[in-house]
């Protein structure tokens, strides 16, 4: 079992954001989470990546219980994520943004930095090389020296991917990667995601663009009001009565 979520619940005061969800992410696959706005998808991601603590339930990653582990420790275990809004530092270059992605695999501290020790120089070099490697993978080598503020929305998304990939992850959580970009660019991102899986990574993504999900996802989970209402292959989910109801409202029989 790669990542398994068991009876996960998150309550914000009176609001039940995620309710008793059991789900597993399959290794080497593209796992998708869909659902109407406010269904609890992002909260679910925050629970897996460790930004929120669950009210109850457990999360196990590669056989290890990580329910109480802080986000930075989970990243070290190999769980990376991107955000809906990319969170990049706009006033710095792409390269400068991505270098920090490999920081978790380094150990030099304040004193190494001030004294510029061998370890620091070696690790700095490793971070730069890693950044070049992932920028090459996402196709941003040409704009590595550009300021993030001057990139297109799609390029920013790719830079955010690069940053996540620089952490050497095994599982990448993508929160609405195709939001705010045009259909042509979406195709480019689809290709990139498929490439990531072919490289041996496992992907779990939240997305609203159905055409994209139906095309690339191996498995889909559908959330509505914090509850899992369906799970299966794109074909199964597409024809599921409860899903159609959740999206269109009322009865699906027309």
């Amino acid at each position: 079992m790669f990542l398994r979520v068991e009876r996960l619940t998150k309550r914000f005061g009176g609001l039940l954001a995620v309710n008793d969800v059991t789900f597993s992410i399959e290794q080497g696959k593209i796992n998708a989470i869909i659902g109407p706005n406010g269904a609890g998808k992002s909260t679910f991601f925050n629970l897996i990546s460790g930004l929120h603590r669950p009210t109850s339930g457990t999360i196990t990653f590669k056989g290890r219980d990580i329910t109480r582990l802080p986000a930075n420790e989970r990243a070290k275990l190999g769980i990376a994520r991107t955000f809906q809004t990319t969170h990049l530092f706009e006033q710095a270059t792409v390269m400068d943004n991505v270098i920090i992605g490999h920081r978790l695999r380094t150990s030099s501290n304040l004193f190494d930095a001030i004294l510029r020790t061998k370890r620091h120089r070696r690790e700095e070099q490793a971070c730069k090389e890693k950044a070049m490697e992932v920028l090459d993978f996402v196709g941003l080598t040409d704009v590595a020296d550009r300021m993030v503020a001057n990139l297109s929305q799609e390029q920013k998304k790719r830079a955010a991917f690069a940053l996540a990939l620089a952490t050497d992850p095994e599982l990448v959580l993508l929160d609405e990667p195709a939001a705010g970009i045009n259909p042509d660019e979406t195709e480019g991102l689809e290709e990139l995601i498929v490439n990531m899986v072919q490289r041996g990574l496992t992907v779990c993504l939240i997305e609203h663009k159905m055409s994209m999900i139906m095309k690339i996802a191996d498995r889909i989970m559908v959330l509505n009001y914090g509850e899992k209402i369906a799970e299966g292959t794109p074909e199964e989910v597409k024809n599921n009565e409860a899903v159609i109801q959740a999206y269109l409202g009322g009865s699906a029989i027309a």
């Binding site: 930075n72 990376a80 969170h87 530092f89 920090i100 978790l104 304040l110 190494d112 930095a113 300021m147």
Partner: protein, 346 residues
């Protein structure tokens, strides 16, 4: 590379000017003013490390400045410790207090952190003001010795003290320079940029924030200890909120989160307030609007504004170059097409 060389040249010239300053300026008053400015700069660098590079506005730093100053005073005068031992102990003690304050304060974020540290600063002021038997309270604390000799080096003259302070300032700038361009500095900037993103990148934000806060307190306590040995008289006023806002003004005018900011801002503001001395308190009528305008139009201060302008120009030049290249390629392609067509038509 040319840019780096040019920057190095500028830096060398600046340091040379600072070294030659007391030799060419006979007026002792200016040397005194400059020494004080250097001390403020060290404190502002401390503030800059945490507020500018790590993204947390600490308003307790005047308090740490005062703790450093009073600790030196108390250890030399009341405990009779040798000067340099007391100097080191004063900085370490303040830094230690910084660790404890940081452990609690860093549980809060953003404006809550600012408010919390503002309160810490005020509590420090109150303690200094009310603890008569230790600090002398409102009467002040007098008789602090000047820095003791180190071997053949004596610090009794104003010029010697000027060089001593300059030395510490250069060390602080050097450390800051190393730090900012290192992995550790990048880590701090990542936290400033987005704490959530930093966490999911595997960065222990608490550990890094604490390290940055503690080093920033250390710099400020160093400035405080230097202040005590230079002015040799202390009043509780140095822990007061107005000193804190002076630091902040220097930093904002010069450029928060820039390496040159603390130097530029401190020099400019102290020079201006000297020039406007004849206006007495009315000089705030000029200062206030100027500061407001600066923050509206140059939120990153003078140094930050210049950096951004240069970056923009570089980007524009690059785009222009790319456009020119593209049009040249296009022209070449159409030329080739035309010649091929001619060849075909024979």
């Amino acid at each position: 590379m040319a840019i780096l060389e040019k920057r190095r040249l500028w830096l060398a010239a600046l340091i040379a000017a600072a070294i030659l300053f007391p030799l060419f300026v006979a007026n002792g008053y200016y040397v005194h003013m400059m020494t004080i400015s250097f001390i403020w700069m060290i404190a502002v660098y401390g503030l800059n490390l945490f507020a500018g590079y790590t993204g947390y506005l600490s308003l307790a730093h005047a308090g740490f400045f005062a703790i450093g100053a009073y600790a030196l005073g108390i250890l030399t005068v009341k405990a009779g410790w040798p000067f340099w031992l007391a100097f080191a102990a004063a900085c370490l003690l303040t830094t230690l207090i910084g660790v404890f304050v940081g452990l609690v304060a860093l549980r809060t974020k953003e404006h809550f952190f600012a408010i919390y540290t503002l309160c810490v600063g005020y509590i420090i002021y109150l303690i200094i003001d009310k603890w008569d038997s230790l600090t002398g309270g409102v009467r002040g604390f007098i008789g602090i010795p000047a820095p003791a000799d180190i071997g053949p080096l004596s610090f009794q003259t104003p010029a010697a003290q000027y060089y001593l302070v300059l030395f510490f300032l250069l060390v602080v700038v050097w450390i800051m320079h190393r730090l900012v361009y290192s992995l550790t500095g990048r880590t701090y900037i990542a936290i400033r940029n987005s704490e959530e993103l930093a966490l999911t990148l595997g960065i222990s934000t608490m550990k890094n924030k604490l390290a940055s806060f503690v080093l920033s307190v250390f710099f400020t306590s160093l400035a405080g200890a230097l202040y005590a040995s230079f002015i040799r008289f202390l009043g509780p006023d140095i822990a007061y909120v107005s000193v804190m806002f002076d630091f902040l003004t220097y930093l904002l005018v010069g450029g928060i989160g820039t390496l040159a900011g603390p130097v530029v801002g401190t020099l400019l503001v102290t020079f201006l307030s000297q020039q406007l001395q004849f206006l007495q308190d009315y000089r705030m009528l000029i200062f206030g609007p100027v500061l407001t305008l600066l923050i509206i139009f140059y939120p990153h201060g003078i140094a930050g504004g210049i950096i951004r302008l240069k970056a923009k120009r570089g980007e524009a030049r690059r785009l222009q170059l790319e456009a020119r290249q593209a049009s040249a390629e296009l022209a070449a392609a159409s030329r080739q097409e035309r010649s091929e067509r001619y060849a075909k038509e024979g």
